[in-house]
């Protein structure tokens, strides 16, 4: 955590908005987890519980015209890009109102109009894709940036390497991150790589790298801002390692008995929502009652979204056949 964040550099309204999105992320995911436990969601549920600061921080640091290729635990990025709780829960329930209209489930959603590239299960596959988005910006002379990441596990894949290398060689306006949450499913980082910090991977590409406290939304925001500004001004890509801890199982069916309880306890104290509240209180931007009110607002939105999703129709069988090929008017201008 080599860069002490100077939270004072962040506008009050921005910090408050991030706090709101932290709460909204937590609420949406708690609701989805509850639905999962009720057997209402089939298929996997992967949450960002305890890691919400990462997506909320970086997505808040981007401009609306920038493009995100989220990691599979970046619920906050979807929310900030305007995916409503109703849409998102519809997605998890396989409803037509979800961003994929039931074609795909859970975090596998995207929408080019809102600048979110749909997640591909095959980890790190979207790393080169994000480089290509950045290449398009560079070719067209736009001052847009792509932001993309993967997990500690995902950095072991060849596509991570090929993407990082290409982005560095061509100095593309892309920021890459790794959410280092200590585990890839059951595999601890020491069986994933023989280095102490994932950021060392960046050296192989001549790409600058930075370690960031992933549980501190202000730190994530500021580090992202710096890297984004650099990319936008032609300074090329940066690699950010967000240090955090996966607080739930790999997916909600996994009790994660392979994780030492003490480690979880230790990280629980660093909960990003608690951290944000402490910061806001220190800065005089909010107090208990405000936090409570924001939490209630988030919950209400999520309840409304849940109700919407529940009464939304499922897709009809024959829609299976729709959409294999695109038509010309769907190509981005």
């Amino acid at each position: 955590m080599n860069q002490a964040p100077v939270a004072q550099d962040i506008k009050r309204s921005d910090l408050l908005e991030m706090y709101y999105y932290l709460r909204l992320t937590r609420s949406v995911e708690d609701r989805i987890t509850a639905l999962y436990r009720q057997g209402r969601i089939v298929g996997g549920v992967y949450t960002s519980h305890g890691m919400e600061a990462i997506a909320v921080g970086y997505a808040s640091a981007l401009n609306p015209e920038d493009v995100i290729a989220p990691f599979h635990r970046d619920m906050g990025a979807f929310l900030i890009r305007g995916f409503s709780p109703g849409e998102i829960i519809s997605q998890y329930l396989g409803k037509q109102a979800g961003p994929t209209k039931g074609k795909d489930g859970n975090v596998h959603m995207g929408d080019l109009k809102r600048g979110v590239i749909g997640f591909v299960s095959h980890l790190a596959d979207n790393m080169p894709v994000a480089a290509g988005a950045a290449l398009a910006f560079k070719i067209r002379g736009e001052s847009r940036v792509a932001f993309a990441g993967t997990g500690d596990g995902g950095t072991s894949r060849g596509d991570f390497h090929e993407a990082m290398n290409f982005a560095a060689v061509r100095k593309l306006p892309v920021v890459y991150f790794c959410t280092n949450n200590q585990y890839a499913y059951s595999t601890p980082v020491r069986y994933q790589m023989a280095i102490a910090d994932v950021v060392e991977r960046a050296k192989a590409y001549g790409m600058p790298g930075e370690i960031v406290d992933g549980n501190d939304v202000a730190a994530v925001y500021l580090a992202s801002k710096r890297a984004i500004a650099k990319a936008r001004s032609g300074g090329g890509p940066t690699f950010l390692e967000f240090k955090t801890m996966r607080m739930h199982g790999h997916s909600e069916h996994d009790a994660a008995t392979y994780v030492p309880r003490a480690l979880l306890e230790q990280w629980k104290a660093k909960d990003p929502i608690v951290r944000a509240e402490r910061l806001l209180a220190q800065l005089g931007y909010g107090d208990e009652s405000y936090f409570h009110e924001v939490g209630e607002r988030a919950k209400k939105e999520v309840e409304a979204g849940t109700a919407f999703a529940e009464q939304s129709p499922l897709p009809e069988g024959p829609e299976t056949l729709v959409g294999v090929f695109a038509t010309e008017n769907e190509v981005l201008p």
């Binding site: 489930g105 299960s121 890839a184 069986y191 897709p315 069988g317 299976t320 294999v324």
Partner: protein, 332 residues
Amino acid sequence: MTSATAVQEGQTTYVDAISQALDEEMTRDERVFLMGEDIGAYGGAFKVTQGFLEKYGEWRVLDTPLSESGFVGAAIGAAMMGLRPVVEMQFADFISCAFDQITEVAAKNHYRWGAAVPLVIRAPFGGGVHGGPFHSECPEGWFFHSPGLKIVAPSTPYDAKGLLKAAIRDPNPVLYFEHKFLYRRIKATLPQEDYIVPLGKAEVKRAGRDVSLITYGAMVHLALEAAELLHQEGIDLEVVDLRTLIPLDKETIYTSVRKTSKAIILHEDNKTGGIGAEISALLTEDCFECLDGPILRIAPPDTPVPFSTPLEEFFLPKVSDIVAGAKKLAAY
């Protein structure tokens, strides 16, 4: 997929049969070892290797980094040195990441320069589990078209065990497609003794006079269910379970179709370019005279596997499709 409940005798599930095969082969032959993601302490995403780490140690139950191409490549190297690696894909879908190593290295090494690659890749495949486009794929069609590979897809606990043992003992790269939907849905009583199911031998699961249905994997159970219904309507369906896709047991297929003169091929993989196409083509090539009607293929449409229940149900072949197809053919 509503079926597979028909075979509910015995204790050993399909997934247990796979575990047993691995366990027994590792005990029998110390060259056998396992590689994959989360197969050690965690026992694998589907718990196939639960307890193996304790029994065989971390060098024979090797957790790998998240790198399918890398660990398949490593398995090829170990196999060439005389070990017998069995690699687990966490889901068959991720085999696309190792495609190059499988088709260009494993499949061709022996032909090109004489190096045997005794490698097994286990790949949990197939739908009916609401996995969506990235956790339901049937990738066998891709590999069916790569000379040098063998391909296996068992439909029962007995075959799951016997074919996996045969695959491990085979001196070639074998892709072993195990159907996730069957894992805990079917049970059987297995022999106490060591046995194998030889590669390359199909099985007539149910004899019949009127129409031959050729299939494999989870679809076998659908076919058997349809056969019951058809029987009530006086149509006698013969069900051939391929078990091994490469090498294909043409003799059993041809014998069946020569008898019935009518053929349906059923699979869960996409229709276009699926294995059904090859079997149909073989039949018109080699048994044209014996055909008394068109060859039907029953298979999903050419789309990815959709996630939402009504879509996936629409996508997957149904018992009613088989019944309708068989009736049409029988009446031809």
